[in-house]
Symmetry: C2
DNA sequence: TTGCACCTCCCCTAAAATGGTGAGGGAGGT
DNA sequence: ACCTCCCTCACCATTTTAGGGGAGGTGCAA
């Protein structure tokens, strides 16, 4: 007996480890009667995680060959942020075709539908449903379940973020208003001279702000400080 | 008579301009019988757009005062990527409280629920539903409609992206692997000399990468390039 | 009152970054 | 085969930024 969607969502909400996502993937595969459900993401630290129903062999192969940099699904979805049917991706390059051929040999279906979700600090996740069927059947399937799949991708994503280790105590020291002004203008490409004129202060004063902000942010230099400020959302560009 | 949710979604799908989003916002407000529905986003170019049911006075005030940099909803959601209840944001600072007080004077409800969505190249959107009611009622509302609101945020977002002018030639601006290496190391505070050593190349070569990346990113200087690269998710720090 | 954090300004010198151009070899795609 | 993009290195002179110092004024809060 296949579990209900609500049941799976509820179960997902209670999950306390990666295994919970794994179990949910399997349950979803059975629920929808498709070939595969896969969820994988890249954390802010660049670490990759994944769960789903692909065969261990294919996963190992994928990781070993660093296919993340080849996979047109990843590359294509990275430029979008709404659901993407695999057919609409660019499979023209030689590497892509070889990759696809190999994937199918490892039991991956020919049809796919992936939902990218992007978080702050470069987090990027993909929720994928995969099957082996005709174009027409697949179009029907995605049309019918599109909304549920979006909800599911959110649920997976939320859970994944909760489980992510070291997801930032973030004890960020706040910058003063003037420091924020200064860093913001520096971040949009102004030179110190320009920023000083814009803020109607002397360049010497400006430097004090920049130095101060740099120390608060624990940065090694101005560029690093800007990078940290943006990554932490202290300033918005 | 209030339109059905499916009707609104369908109408949204057919929208051909910002007015379509505006109409949908109003329809949604009536459908859910809440105070406000607002959708606003920042494009990759930094341009702000918005639509919704806030009074024109409040919108004008918001823009004029550059409240985007004060609004705790924006600041809070910028660090997350799942729905956020306004109560869970940080309203402790004086500026935040003053902002909130003023917002309420302009007819904004005390309760809010915002769904952030982040696109490639630094696009960032917020779909907000706002109301004036008790904590309990609001908890019930958000609990009940959470999934639909997520779907709606996606629908708005997809439409907004379609409507965004000049929304294409970005994919061509991807950085080469070496450029990413260079920018990443610069972003974590290394000097050019250190980066050159780390990458085992001459500092001259390194500079070519930085310059190339700078041009691709349309940045005025290295710091600006790093800022853009991070904001767009081209590099992860 | 006495801190403390903020804003503002000034001095110094050495190190780093900036701007553009030329040029060779390699890999991939049409 | 040709073309384009990527990787690598080199040269030049100039501007900007880097790291510290010190010092006076405001306003808020314990």
């Amino acid at each position: 007996m296949t579990p209900s969607l609500d049941g799976i969502l509820q179960q997902l909400e209670c999950a306390e480890a990666l295994e919970g996502l794994q179990t949910a993937s399997v349950a979803l595969r059975d629920h929808y009667n498709v070939a595969h459900i896969v969820y994988h993401w890249v954390s802010s630290s660049g670490q990759q995680y994944g769960c789903g129903t692909y065969s261990p062999e294919w996963v190992a192969r994928y990781v070993e060959q660093a296919y993340l940099r080849v996979d047109p699904v990843v590359a294509g979805c990275y430029q979008k942020f709404h659901p993407v049917d695999w057919k609409r991706l660019d499979w023209s390059s030689k590497a892509s075709r070889a990759f696809q051929k190999e994937a199918i040999e490892y039991g991956v279906g020919n049809q796919g539908f992936s939902i990218p979700i992007r978080g702050p600090n470069g987090q990027f996740a993909l929720f994928t449903v995969n099957n082996d069927c005709s174009d027409e059947d697949w179009a029907n399937f995605t049309e019918t379940h599109r909304q549920h799949l979006i909800i599911l991708s959110h649920a997976f994503n939320q859970k994944a973020l909760e489980l992510e280790p070291g997801r930032t105590p973030l004890a960020a020291q706040a910058l003063s208003p003037r420091e924020i002004d200064a860093m913001t203008l520096i971040a949009v490409g102004y030179s110190r001279a320009q920023v000083a004129v814009t803020l109607s202060i002397s360049e010497n004063t400006l430097r004090v702000y920049i130095e101060s902000a740099r120390h608060k942010l624990g940065a090694l230099n101005t560029t690093h400080a800007v990078a940290k400020a943006i990554a932490r959302g202290v300033i918005v560009v």
